[in-house]
Amino acid sequence: MPRIVIDGRTIDCREGIPVLQAALEAGLDVPHYCYHPGLSVVASCRLCLMELKVPDPRTGQLVWAPKLFPSCQTQVRDGMEVRFQSEAVRANQQRVLEYYLLNHPLDCPVCDKAGECYLQDYVEAYGPATSRMVEEKTKNPKKDIGPHTLLYQDRCVLCSRCVRFCDEIAGTGELRVVNRGSQAEIDVFPGQPLENPLQGNVVDLCPVGALLDKGFLFRQRVWLLRSARSVSPADSRGQTIWIDYNEEGIQRIRPRYNERVNEWWISDEARFGWKYIYRPDRLRTPLVRDGAALKPARWEELPALLRARFAGAPDTRVAAVLSPMMSCEEAWLLAAFIRQVAPRALLVCGHVPVVGEDQVFPRGFVIKAEKCPNRRGIETILQSVGPPTTEFQVFLGQAVEGAFDAAYVVGGYAEAWVTPSAAQALAKIPFLVVHDLFPSALDNSVSVQIPGATWAEREGTFMNCDGLIQPFERAIPPLEGIKPDGQFFAELAGRRGLFHAGQVRQEMATVMPSFAEVFVPREVPPHAH
């Protein structure tokens, strides 16, 4: 581990990283724009310049070199001594920030980025207090560069992060710098908009409010948002995210750095995959069939009803379909309930939506074809709980033969998932409990319809495609009328008190040791990237 000295402070850092990264990881705030640990180094913003001790060519003694060095371009070397707290470094920071402000529009009152803007923060900390600019500012247009993204060119600081992202991470290269010098702009080629499955990341990467997400435009001030640590259910990779929300609900989703899974990026599917939470046709009240009609029921009535009906049937004719949209804890509790009342009930891993092939991007980012977060978790739990277990298609084949008297089917998918053949098979089950988000083709045959909560309204863990168990917190309270799934399953399984995912995991860990520890990504300081 190289040991370097920054501003007189000795720091042990990782090998093979630039001094800037070492400083940021040690908690020092060094202003920078163009550097990003996930992208190539261009050293073009010239804001991160530092002083470096080098041997004097005549005496061999270490002296402060008479020029500044980009800290993003200089790799750490054991014994290196640098400093950022010096006249020359501070003067350069002031000048560079003044240069950025020369043509920057006074858009803070209407700019989405306010509150999380690198320019605001750095100018306040390191920049000039007054403006000396009395000339006409260079004006640039606002551009619509893609289906999801706007570019307000006059705010752009030409750090080229977005260009490098599209070249290196997405591999599509839609964004380019055009023109030269102070006329330089970011733009797309005519007829080739910014449209790749990772394009939303350029909005996060942009240090100022130049690249904007159309969905978040003018929506909410970021200091009025709170953030929950969550895991995206968009695919089986388990991309970790921040859900930014307030009392009005979810406002946006951002990537949460994860050194093992998605690093600094998320797919657009993960980023925009929360609108379905607010669909107007969300199921809101438990319904119990009474003759031809479904009548509203109270949550408190359900456990007794279900217990009676599931215990009443022969246990080999009882089944439960555990959706891969459920968390591990919820699946565990539901399995516990079903096997409690029907020890030889069939447990099924629910329908696994697969769309196309895995998409692998140049630097290793993967969008999985499997569009559910927890298939491996469900399978692990089923294996631990023990046979009889089977797959969804096999279960449907048995159901259509009339093999079951009672079944508990959990859905929870963002898209419609009930195919006509599945509806036909499930219709054969006399006592069908469906725990789902939206109305479906099962509505005609369902006996008890229970409204589910989406992942953002629940807490728990997902096991990703590589076996990594990642926890997610609740962001928003469940919509009115809905009891979160974990709480309901806990009551079904006879547990008293509030559902707490951590406690359930402790219980699970006694028989499944892998659940003793979950993977929480390393927290990075703000502005570290």
Partner: protein, 501 residues
């Protein structure tokens, strides 16, 4: 005593661009001699000749060649024919009149550096010159000077010409390499240096046209002859260009070490000023190197060289070293443009600032924004709405950019900073007089066109260095007056108040 031209020896000879004409006067003999030596011997020879680069930086060519890694498999030689430094045209004269001298130089340099391919990057505007050069390359191939087994030596060298598309920044070494690779001409961060990782990430050497044209003569006439020309550390012969209102604008050859006064006034060179004018200023090495005061100023006392005082500086010796005593960045391309006594110094400033603002590539913040800001200020000054503080801002901005203090990726901002700073500092008296001659509220009225709420604050007005009616005032040390950052970015490691050149 007129100097017998060496580089320009075929100028004016009919059919001088043809191979036959070139061979008749001893052409390609140097290459033949070189091919009989080992590549290392040729490098050693060029090192001992102290051939300093003629493209602007003056970096010794032999030393540059010796940076190539010993175990390299592929080497590229890039010939920088992107001559874009205003007001330089000596490479053009060489290419137009004696292209084979350049090609012979390429052959020698290629052999010395064991280059596999030579790329001549010629600026896009040189359309006629490109055709002349391409014809010469074709002749050279036909005669066996390029291609395989050149002159039976076993050495192979391919030579291609690539045309640029109108960017000054593509004359910068790594900007040229990026442009050759088909990308935007954005200079690369260094390290790695081109000698290690250049064109297509292979070891590369970039040399100027004139530097290469010197090689045949070093080989044919010998080291002693070369070392007998020039001054202590600037050896050999140089092409000097002179333009502006002189009687004989043009490109002339002389050993390194003529003075600026000779270049302007000698009948062998500029032949004096048209209409008997005097010289207000001269940029002796191309715009980027900075400006010298002319003979409208009084001569200094003997032996005194002080760029901070308003003295005639035309006795500056035009070699690589004496120029630095006059606060010039270097000799540059030794292309002089003369500003006559009846020129408005604000026009000069505007012209200079506009060039660099237009040509900045836009990567580095200081250069991109700084050159544009200086241009806008220069424009406003020219429009009669300047303020004294604008002069201070210009000087401070020039001290906050450049590759030399480590603030930028390439040398363009150094080239932008030097002429603007020297202009404002050396001609401060005239700038202040012009500003004093404006209507007093002109700046405020001008600024109110964009910002109706602007009003002048005395504290931000700046101070005159040369109050009207007074004598020479001691220049204000801004760094001491207003704090460290008001003088630009200070030299790291130096104490507060020390100014960086």
């Amino acid at each position: 005593m007129r100097f017998e031209p060496v580089l320009l020896k075929n100028l004016g000879v009919p059919g001088s661009t043809a191979l036959e004409t070139y061979r008749r006067s001893g052409g390609y003999e140097g290459a033949q001699r070189a091919l009989k030596m080992s590549p290392e011997e040729v490098v050693e020879l060029v090192k001992r000749a102290n051939l300093r680069g003629r493209g602007g930086a003056g970096f010794p060519a032999g030393l540059k060649w010796s940076f190539l890694p010993k175990d390299r498999k592929v080497t590229y030689l890039c010939v920088n024919a992107d001559e874009s430094e205003p007001p330089t045209f000596c490479n053009r004269v060489l290419i137009e009149n004696d292209p084979h001298m350049l090609l012979e130089g390429i052959l020698i340099a290629g052999y010395a550096t064991r280059a596999t391919v030579a790329y001549i990057y010629i600026r896009g505007e040189f359309m006629e010159q490109f055709h002349i050069l391409q014809r010469a390359v074709d002749e050279a191939y036909a005669a066996g000077y390029f291609g395989r087994n050149i002159l039976g030596s076993g050495y192979d060298l391919e030579c291609y010409i690539h045309r640029g598309a109108g960017a000054y920044i593509c004359g910068e070494e790594t900007g040229l390499i990026e442009s050759l690779e088909g990308k935007r001409g954005w200079p690369r961060i260094k390290p790695p240096f081109p000698a290690v990782e250049g064109l297509f990430r292979q070891p590369t050497v970039v040399n100027n046209v004139e530097t290469l044209a010197c090689l045949p003569h070093i080989l044919t006439r010998g080291l002693d002859w070369w070392l007998s020309l020039g001054t202590a550390n600037s050896k050999g012969t140089k092409l000097y260009c002179i333009s502006g209102p002189v009687n004989r604008p043009g490109c002339y050859e002389a050993p390194l070490g003529i003075t600026c006064r000779e270049l302007i006034y000698s009948p062998d060179f500029g032949g004096g000023m048209r209409g008997g004018r005097k010289v207000k200023a001269v940029f002796p090495g191309g715009l980027s190197m900075g400006v010298l005061r002319g003979d409208v100023f009084p001569k200094p006392p003997p032996g005194v060289v002080d760029p901070q005082q308003d003295f005639d500086e035309l006795d500056c010796v035009l070699d690589f070293d004496d120029v630095r005593r006059y606060d010039l960045l270097g000799l540059g391309t030794a292309a002089a443009v003369v500003i006559p006594d009846d020129a408005d110094i604000r026009d000069v400033l505007l012209n200079v600032a506009r060039f660099y603002a237009h040509e900045s590539c836009g990567q580095c913040t200081q250069c991109r924004e700084g050159t544009a800001w200086m241009y806008k200020i220069a424009r406003r000054i020219r429009q009669g709405a300047g303020r004294l503080v604008d002069l201070d801002i210009l000087v401070e901005t020039t001290r906050s950019m450049g590759m030399i203090p480590g603030l930028s990726i390439c040398g363009l901002p150094d080239g932008a900073a030097w002429p603007i700073r020297t202009l404002v500092q050396k001609f401060r008296r005239e700038f202040e007089e012009r500003i004093a001659a404006q209507t007093p509220d002109a700046p405020v009225r001008h600024i109110r066109r964009t910002n109706p709420a602007a009003y002048p604050l005395p504290i931000f007005e700046g101070r005159a260095v040369h109050p009207p009616g007074g004598t020479f005032a001691t220049p204000i040390d801004l760094a001491v007056e207003h704090g460290p950052t008001s003088g630009g970015v200070p030299v790291p490691g130096a104490r507060s108040g020390a100014r960086s050149k």
